[in-house]
Symmetry: C4
Subunit: 275 residues, 4 copies
């Protein structure tokens, strides 16, 4: 769907996941660090969250696939136009393929977090493959388009391949908070950049078109990409702070003052050791 909505839809998916991760991973990290016993912070609580995440991912992928196939001007599962002897709606098929791999990643998540049969690292591996496939298809997607169009998609690829690399590192360094938050930031970046691409290539409300061949536009867009990332880092820092404050606050309500002071001093000791 080469229009505004076709970029806003995946952008929203990525933004949602990125924002969710920017809450989940700090929460997990701070709970683990403070050895807090709230329900959500337990192992089975987190496993349930991972399961829900997998189901949501698979559902979003299914929605994306159906949207790409069955929008009014979509291919409706027809791949080859025998009358005109050419491929039919290749763009939509490519997008469908991208969603397909995210769907597979969702399925693997579900299997990994409901059974013991499969090693747990497969969820990161499959997600890494899905993100790589997305970048791989985009890379051959933009051939022969106008300069600015190519450039905004290539900038997207930086976030995409960065995410794939980060995920493949997570196969080996599972549960590393730095990698997890880095991935979250790249996911938010990807989401907000999808929206930005929509605004640049298909200005909504009939705004003025961008000059596709102006080199200054290319330079501005590169810089704008960095601002998006600064924004993603800001969101991350904000969510981290809120989560840390909430976890700290809940602790105060649930436990008696005396015991808490003991806990806190222990924790200080720990974090000193950690340093």
């Amino acid at each position: 769907m080469a229009n505004f909505k076709g970029h806003a839809l995946p952008g929203s998916f990525f933004l949602l996941f990125g924002l969710w991760w920017s809450v989940k991973y700090p929460f997990k990290y701070i709970c683990r660090k403070k050895k807090k016993a709230c329900y959500l912070g337990t192992k089975s609580g987190f496993q349930r969250l991972e399961l829900i995440e997998g189901i949501t991912k698979a559902a979003f992928a299914l929605i994306g696939m159906l949207a790409e196939q069955f929008v009014p001007d979509g291919p409706h599962l027809k791949l080859y136009n025998h009358e005109e002897h050419q491929w039919d709606h290749l763009m939509n098929w490519q997008h469908t393929t991208m969603y397909l791999f995210y769907g597979l990643s969702g399925l693997v998540d579900i299997v990994v977090h409901t059974t013991n049969a499969v090693p747990v690292a497969f969820d990161k591996m499959m997600l890494s493959i899905a993100v790589f496939i997305e970048g791989f298809l985009f890379y051959y997607h933009v051939h022969g388009r106008a300069m600015l169009d190519v450039h905004v998609h290539i900038l997207l690829l930086v976030a995409v391949f960065g995410g794939a690399l980060c995920l493949s590192l997570e196969v080996f360094f599972r549960g590393n908070i730095v990698l997890e938050l880095f991935r979250s930031s790249l996911c938010i970046l990807q989401g907000s950049w999808f929206w930005q691409i929509g605004f640049i290539l298909y200005p909504p409300g009939g705004g003025p078109e961008w000059d596709q061949m102006d080199h200054n536009n290319v330079m501005f867009v590169t810089m704008c990409y960095c601002w998006h990332y600064a924004f993603a880092l800001f969101i991350l820092a904000l969510n981290y702070t809120i989560v840390a404050w909430v976890v700290q606050h809940r602790l105060k309500e649930e436990q008696p003052t005396e015991f808490e002071r003991l806990k806190t001093s222990e924790h200080d000791h720990e974090s000193e050791e950690e340093m």
Copy 2:
């Protein structure tokens, strides 16, 4: 051998190895996890398998080398045509070189798994080198051909260099199930893609030729490559499931019910710890 058979032959080799690996590694992993004492799951059993694999690899490589040299239109070990002052059948010589390195990898496998003289990690190192050499030769192979021809070979390189990278990681992370299955999937992909290249460049049965310069064909082929990989992942998942089911089933036959229940509860405990 720039014809259909010349692509089907290596394709079949890679498919065979990929499928074999997609059975072997899950089997090895599940046996190790369940501490099952069936013969094939023992250390010496696996070592024998590795040895057979090495011999097969060396044999396949020899067949490939002989086929490339002694087909009717082959070079018959002649490298330079002194009459025409030019190199003779360079393509066949390049393919022979590729097979040569796989042969060396087979030899190293045999040495590593029969003697103690050589560190065991050399088998992965040598296979990694062989795969890299394959990609390296292919990279300079396709210079100056038509667009689609170049593109299908470059797509092949993604699987080839991915495999070489994965194998070089296995030198350091030996026996990592995620890397082993990832390598298996890339090997199946390479095999099935070799067949696909044969069908695209030399349509059998006198089918219609593909338009080498149509950009839509390039885009379709890229997407088709992703479907091949989805197919490879599906095969992998299927084989994993079958192997897991078979190992579980054999266990039931061999052990008494009481003891088994004990075992199972222990195993649950273990896998919980693992999580």
Copy 3:
């Protein structure tokens, strides 16, 4: 600021940091190795140093941002020239963005070394991102300029991306002296190269202009870059030697001869083990 000062300013920042690191890390390493109890060599002493470093970094970044925005021919926070319908002073805005990320890195340093809330590895991660962003913006910065101009900036990118890679490794191998000194050397290289770029592109004192299209100049500049690095390595070796000598010397003053001899023999024993 495309003039001599615009290159001398960041060059001085990088030189200062590189030189400082080339003193700090050897000092830290030798103190740790000799288990010396001088104030600066303690944990809290180093943490205070890191804090000061973070504040300095943030201050330098702020100075850089203000300089880029409010020099007489700067944009004064105006991004778009509505009269001429084009972007305003994009170069200055790009440089501002670079400084912004270094500023963020300074802020993260301050937070990491004053509170326990955030994992300590974030300081390296954020600095790695800042250095990567610098390289990323430079990469799209030099499009369409003269050959020599492009080349000197691409050489800069080698140091920049090398530094970003080194820093991202330090996230996992924190406190590795080899990586720390490698990073210091790249930082000195970047600083001195910024000065060199200034001298090449804007010869001060009205010197003769360099021929931008002469291939010999490109070759000389490449070689000159290597000399800069040799110089950076020399500075590093010199500082390491001085620091080692100073630490050794101070030790002699503070401790009695007898005890010292004991210490020294212990240390010899240790370093043998280390070998």
Copy 4:
């Protein structure tokens, strides 16, 4: 020195080092594995070897630098020709720079293996930098030459950058026999390829010139490069076998039969555990 000797000289240096490493590292590995107490196999014995290696490396580098500067048609330390207003003998200066970094690597080797002041991993780091600088200078060296000339140098870069990567891994995985032998093989390859370049670009004895623009020559040369590597691997395997046989043989002479049998069975036990 763009002539046959200018390629044979570094080729011989690399060949010598590669062959020496292909003997040293297997010897070190087998001694360590068999816990043999021969003089050369001891820690101080190996340290002395490393020292001699460092001195040799520095000496070779000095010879190379002097040769490049003071051959009859060399620059004799003159960098700029003020009469013709152009750089003087840039090629020789670039080669001198390459040798300079190898000389620095030799110096670091000497310091690391005579004092305890510097962490031992610096020898690999500095060698990695030296190899990278060699590749870096070669990369900008061949701009604008004929196709075959460019191609043979780019093939060289594969060995060079492969070696630099391998060495930088050795900073973290010190003493890994797989990496050490891989580096040895790349060093032999580089040495023999330097000779091959000499033969291709400056056929000695007035042989026929190679057609620089024939694509078949490019393809043959690529394949030839692989054969050189197969040859390097063969040399490595041969030396490994000889060293293993010699160590085994010396053992028989030095120890009584009874004790030996005991030793051997122990060793078998060990290697089983290792598997």
